[in-house]
Structures are given as C-alpha cells and as structure tokens.
Amino acid sequence: MKNRASVISGIAAIVFSFFVFVIPFLFIILMSFKDRQQASLRDFSWPNGFHLWDNLVAVVSTRNWMMVTAFINSSLITVVSVTLLIVLAAMVGFVLARRKAKWNGTIEFLILAGLMIPPAVVPTIWLLQGLKLFGTLHGMILIQVAYNLPFSIILYRAFIATIPRELDEAAIIDGARPLDVFFRVILPLLWPVTVTNIVVQSVGIFNDFTNPLYYLPGSSNATVQLTLYNFQSQFNTSYNLLFTNILLITIPPLIVFLFFNRQIVAGMTAGAVKG
C-alpha cells in the first residue's frame, strides 16, 4: 500500500529531518576533525586536515587521563544507581499498586513532591558530610537514586496495575514467598517498563551535570560531563577538543540507544501512557 503520496511525504520528512536533526551531529563530528585554529572559527566547513586522532588523544590524555577516570566513574554511578532504582522503584510500585493502605495517599504525595521540588543543595551537602558520603561515589549513587526514584516508581506503578493480581495469587498458592513473588513472577513481567527505566534513567544519570558538580568534587571523582570543563575555561576554549569531548561522551548513550531502540516504544506503551 505504499502509494506515491507516502513516498513523497517520506522523502520530504527525510530531507527535513536531515537538516533539523542530523546536521547538528554532523557539525559536532566535523568540529572534532579540525585543528584548533580552524575549530575556533566555529563554522560549518570541511576540515583542513584529519585531526580526529590527535584530538582524541589530547582529550583522553588531558589532565592525567582524567577522561578514563571519568568514564569509569560515570559508568559505575550509572550502572549501580540504575540497578538500585529499578529494584527499589519496582518494589515500591508493586506494594503501592497492590496494597490498599491508609498511607498510600501520603506516599503518592511524596512521590509527586519529589518530581516537583528542586533539591536543596547546600543542606544536602552538609548532610552527606555528616554521613561521610560527601565526595564519594556511594554518596553520588544514593543521591541519584533518591532524586530519580519518584519517576521510576510512577512508571512501575502504572504498569503493575495492569498485571492481573491473580498472577501473584497463583504464585502464593504455588508456595512463593514475598521475595519469590516479586523477583520471580512480577519483576520479569515488568521488562517493558524496565527498558524504559533503563533508557531514561541511565541517560539522565550519565548526562547529569549539576549533581556531580556539587556532590562529587575532586578530579579523581570526575564524571564525564565535567570533562567538558577541561576545554572550556573562563579565558579560552579549545573548540576542536570540546567537540571531540562531546562526541566521545555521546557514545555510551548511542550504545544504549542501539540496544534498546526497538523496545523503547513498547515500554512507553506499557508504562507511561496507561497511567
């Protein structure tokens, strides 16, 4: 049924999307090929020479291989906090969706508050310090979990409400204990929303700029977003390296994207929309 109109509108859409969505990325790539002088012009031009490798080496080795540390740190923070988020949020969503308790209203209020209230930074720093968590990866992970829990819970709760309760009951009759019901029966069924959670939260946490800036000082604690500072100072900016850096830190989200591309829509159908 692919008629002429759909081909024409398709071609129009492809051309339009190329200009709007592809060119900015092409620009990043082109910039990362340039040398410093040419890059400082910041125009959309063909690179004078192939400097990508030099730029990459410069970006990665700057400040005592800070980029490597940053990648390790960011990956650790992302993986651990997303794992925690998934398990904890699913547990809360499960109990919240299933159990009619009088404090459900309070919990829902707190979740909504968490979505809305901007975190109070300085008091949090003081608190982290008191807990000896300030400037540690553990502290950063817990902060990310705390800040992102509400959104994950909302996604999960909406989805769990669509899973028939008879499944839990069948499992109970089969002899499942609460942890069995949750981990063996419910959690595997949440996969579509879990994908949504993985994509949205891991990208959000990996790309988080503000929170590591406050809660994770110290160059040994650098995260990838902070590496952008290496090439953008108050006094001068190395645009070739800056854009090479942007290119480099876009790779992990790209990988996540390639992995889950097909499942993202399914996850959304399952989770967000039914709410």
């Binding site: 028939p164 008879e166 499944l167 009951e169 069948a170 499992a171 109970i172 009759i173 089969d174 002899g175 499942a176 204990r177 069995d180 063996r184 029966v185 595997p188 069924l189 996969w191």
Partner: protein, 359 residues
C-alpha cells in the same frame, strides 16, 4: 484424611460484612460447588479457604487442623483461577513446575511429576510453549496441570470455565469430572452457572448475601428447595412462582386459590399458616402439562419449539406469566387459549417469609 470444616466463618471489610457466618462440612473426596449470583460471596469464601483472604471470624479446619493463620502453601491446596493466571514469561513446563521448584523438589522428581501431569492432561506437546502461544482450552489445561503436580488434598476452582466458549465448556466440564474421579481429592468449585453446579457437584452450596441458603445434593436442591431464593436459582427455566391466597388449612394440607387458579389442595407443612394469608405457590415449568382438568387457563404468548420439548410462555388473565416446558413438539398458536394442570405433589408452598413448607 483431608475433610474441610467451616465454623461460623466470617469476613468483613471495615464495617461491611460479606460473609456472615458460614458453617459447612466437606468430606474427603467430595466435589462441592459454591453457587450463587455475582456478589454473593462465593469467591470470597473460596479465597478464604485458599488463604488469599483473611478470615475475620470463625474457624477453618482442613484435615482437622485449624488453618486460619496458616500460609496458603501449607494448606495442601491448589487453585485454578478464572483467568488461569499462567506466568507469561515461563514455558508451560516451567509454569507447571514452578510450585515444585519453590518447594525445592529435586530436579528429577520435578521432571517426572511435570511429565506425569502433562500425560494425564494430554498436553505433552505443549510443554515448551509459552502461555501466549496457547488457545484458551490449552491454557485451562495448563492451569489444571499446575494444580495437579502439587498433589493437594483440596482443589479449588474459581469459575474456571467462564472464559471458554460453550462447546469447550461442556468438554472441559466433563474432563474435570473425570479428573475428580481419578484423583479422588476434594474439590471446591465456584460458579454462577447452576447447570455446571448440577452436573458436577456431589454437594451444592447455594449462597446469597454472604449467607448459605441451602446445602444439599443437586436433586435435593431441585426437588426440595429450602426457600424462594434457591427455588428461583436452581433449575432452568426458572420455577414459576405465583401469589395465592390460603382458603383452608388442615394437617399436612393447604387449600389455595387465586383469580387464575381454582381452589387446589397442596401437601405442605401447614403449621402457622392460617386461612386468608397470602403465600407463594411454586411449580416447575416441567411439572405443567396440557390438561383437560385444567386448573390454570391463559393465552399462549410465546412458543419455543426445541423438537424434543416445547417451551411455552403463557399469559394469565390477571396479567401474570407462566412458563411451561411440554414434552415433544407441540403445535401451538400464539394468541390461542391454553389450559395447564399440574400434579399437586410437584408443587411447593412458600410462606410469607419465603421459606418452603415441605412435608
């Protein structure tokens, strides 16, 4: 062995009492059906036995032991749900074996039990499939298989046939009956379909409004309904119920009449009934016959010719309706007069409280 005893079992949600003190004995190996209209509390009662609902009051014993606070997995029960509740992410094999796995049954024993259950249910070829790839009937089998492998003392069925089409429902009903014979375990079966109840049950429990209306064998319920509710609920088409006036009372006999009905003697427990009182006369449609010594005269309003029998809807002169099921094919014309009679021993008198006055 494992009989069930329910003693004054109660369930309330806040101030609302949904099960109002149920007493019931179920012998080992008995097939008991809970029947009643939706909202009567039959499913709640089943789930209380399963351990899925708290027991607010009273006592539940299985095999003589009090089970009120025992976890479902320790009650020696298995349950088949209305929606089958198969785990969508597991294969049939895993679904059936899940309970055994949780009970840490050794793998070879587990395998043997799963295959045995599959053999009984003739679903060996389905073991590697996921529930999503099965038809409704196949899912039903898997759900039953999952119950069988647990080798429970009591099987609980919660409206297990309501998601199947009519033909499959009859087949599966028979299979469940066969299964009961083969396994010899107690089965408690919830349905709102009185035909299913009549066909399957050794004992039917009729529930309404959280109260047991009557317990008995299917025939008992059919022939000697305890009250108007049971009379109306059991039997298809429904029993005809006519308001009548008591003309005279003697021991073991009540004489009644109405504008549609000449004075008739009915055998009944007459104590407490006095002349002039209004009572209800119950006559099964099958008990009505075309008769020359007619006691009821009306006009044919509707005819359903089924071949072996004919259902006739009769409009009485006072505006009342009667349903009669006549043997064989009866060539009746709509609008023509019809005269019906019944054997007074087939009729039941219900007093002002709706209680049957059987002798």
């Amino acid at each position: 062995m494992a009989g069930l005893e329910l003693r004054q079992l109660r369930k309330s949600y806040g101030n609302v009492e949904v099960i109002k003190g149920v007493d019931l004995n179920i012998e080992h190996g008995e097939f008991v059906v809970f029947v009643g209209p939706s909202g009567c509390g039959k499913s709640t009662l089943l789930r209380m036995i399963a351990g899925l609902e708290d027991i607010s009051g009273g006592e539940l014993r299985i095999g003589g032991k009090v089970m009120n606070h025992v976890e479902p997995r320790d009650r020696s029960i298995a349950m088949v749900f209305q929606s089958y509740a198969l785990y969508p992410h597991m294969t049939v094999y895993e679904n059936v074996g899940f309970g055994l796995k949780l009970a840490k049954t050794p793998k070879d024993v587990r395998d043997q039990k799963i295959r045995e259950a599959a053999r009984i249910l003739q679903m060996e070829h389905l073991l590697d499939r996921k529930p999503g790839q099965l038809s409704g009937g196949q899912r039903q089998r898997v759900a039953i298989g999952r119950a069988i492998v647990r080798q429970p003392e009591v099987f609980l069925f919660d409206e297990p046939l309501s998601n199947l089409d009519a033909a499959l429902r009859v087949d599966t009903r028979m299979e469940i009956a066969k299964l009961h014979q083969n396994l010899g375990a107690s089965m408690i079966y919830v349905t709102h379909d009185q035909v299913e109840a009549m066909v399957l049950a050794d004992k039917i429990v009729v529930l309404d409004g959280g109260v047991v209306q009557q317990v008995g064998s299917p025939i008992e319920l059919y022939q000697r309904p305890a009250n108007l509710f049971v009379a109306g609920f059991i039997g298809s088409p429904k029993m005809n119920l006519l308001p009548v006036t008591v003309e005279a009372v003697s021991d073991g006999k009540v004489t009644i009449s109405s504008k549609d009905l000449a004075a008739t003697d009915i055998a009944a427990n007459s104590s407490g009934i006095s002349a002039g009182e209004t009572v209800t006369l119950g006559v099964r449609p099958h008990a009505l016959q075309i008769s020359s010594s007619a006691t009821l005269v009306g006009r044919v309003a509707l005819v359903e010719r089924l071949g072996n029998e004919t259902n006739v809807n009769v409009e009485l002169p006072t505006g009342g309706q009667l349903m009669a099921v006549l043997d064989g094919d009866q060539p009746l014309q709509i609008g023509h007069g019809i005269a019906l009679g019944f054997d007074s021993s087939d009729a039941v008198i219900f007093d002002g409280e709706g209680q049957a006055r059987h002798l």
